[in-house]
Amino acid sequence: MRELELFFGPQHPGMVGNFSITLKVEGDRILEAIPNPGYLHRGFEKLMELRNWIQNFPMVCRINVIEPDSMEAVYAMAVESLANIEVPERAKYIRTIVLELARLASHLFGAWAYANMLGFDTPAQWAMADRDHILDLFEELTGGRVYHIYILPGGVRRDLPDGFEEKVMHFLHALSQKLPDYNETFFENRIFYERAKNIGKIEKEEAIEWGATGQVLRATGVKYDIRKVEPYLVYDKVEFDIPTREDGDAYSRILVIRDEMLESAKIIMQCIEKMPKGKVYERLPNPFKWKIPKGETYVRVESSRGELGLYMVSNGGNTPYRVHFRTPSFNHGLFILPRLLKGASIADVGNIMISLYVVAPEIDR
């Protein structure tokens, strides 16, 4: 059979996000896959060196469109660590609630993308609708639906509005009641099982060697989660579990994601219960004159996709000297994806890519 070169994406029904892969195929089999990113490269890390510490927030959140809050949190935590700012207790709880709501929204979006691509239109639309309820909550809290710019160094921008806790509880309750429907139509659907089982399989040792984090690593049976390894915010004060699976295929990854949604809901409920009263932010100096002492730091959080790290260097000026984001998708999309695609069929390209949870702007930055 003749070997052909196939350009898959950036505009393709099986592709979510502006990312393209050059495939060398023989019939339906993929011989080699070469990822080709760069469609969303805006050079954020360089641009941040030209703007002061606070001005960077509107850029930070745009690195991950689907879950911007973890980006804001990691940037704020890095600035706090360099400038030695203590965050008030209530702000920590609010941040945790926001991060977990963002994780839920991101996982629902992921479920939408996955279900939609494989043709499960009904559960896909449910997931999108449920995500919209979270966006409504965010709109009430922060004023923005997708980009929030809510977490700032020293705390959060403002306190929770009246009745917000009840609305969150109401939403979580409604979502948990829908779960059997999701299970029946999507997660435990026989057709979906056949489609995702043994696809994009990755062994435990490989996952560790290849630097995988997040669901990709947890689906192979490794219990590794930054929220437990190095608890930040209030994750050491709430009880939750780290869901894992053993098989390491696409189906295991999506089940880990489903179970994580339940854990997120548990965390949010506990936070609402335990949240103390008090102030929500520390006063910051004038942002135009704010200089941060010399130093460097690496902070990390567990985003919905894996370990999100930020290496930040300050040379004592009013702008960062160097900002480097360690995004999970960079490793998953550029290094692991082509290895999993080798030998797969063309119909599974989008399937494997979405199960790795790759989001293109995180790669390009």
Binding site: K46, G309, R326, L334, F335
Partner: protein
């Protein structure tokens, strides 16, 4: 355990500085020649995941600083191994033999900073197309000047007629 690790590293690899700047963070400053043996040693000690490679352009000192971020599945300790290379024709050995996924990070640094990694099979550009200028993340590359040169000649729509 961390103190023990520090003692052993300083004993085996001379001219290596080990510091603990904050909780769960260890910074190792070493020489170019020591890089591969140290990474191999740390990998044997359980730091099996390469999380990323960063690069910092210290233009006043005329050096690039490469930062290798390693972590372990068993301890919360996070290690940053730092190596400096000269800014004039920067070159260093690839670490792909130890951490395979270094390939993509080295490729990114090669594109954005112009550091060459000996032995890396694929250093083709990731993001930029037909880039003729200085590597864009270097401190002496001026983004604002570049934008002026590249885009200001394009006339506005009204001016065209």
């Amino acid at each position: 355990m961390d103190k023990e690790l520090k003692r052993r590293i300083e004993e085996i690899y001379k001219d290596t500085e080990v510091e603990f700047p904050e909780a769960n963070r260890m910074v190792l400053k070493t020489k170019k020649e020591n890089l591969l043996p140290i990474l191999e040693f740390l990998k044997r000690e359980g730091f099996r995941q390469l999380k990323a490679i960063s690069c910092v352009d210290w233009i006043e000192e005329g050096e690039f600083e490469l930062v290798y971020l390693l972590s372990s599945l068993n301890t919360p300790l996070h290690i940053m191994v730092k190596v400096r290379v000269g800014r004039e024709s920067p070159e260093i050995e690839t670490i792909m033999k130890i951490f395979e996924n270094a390939q993509v990070y080295e490729r990114e640094i090669h594109e954005l900073f112009g550091v060459k990694f000996r032995g890396n099979p694929d250093l083709s550009p990731l993001f930029l197309e037909n880039w003729q200028n200085l590597p864009p993340f270097r401190k002496d590359f001026d983004t604002r000047e570049y934008v002026k040169e590249k885009f200001e000649q394009i006339p506005f729509v009204e001016e065209k007629k």
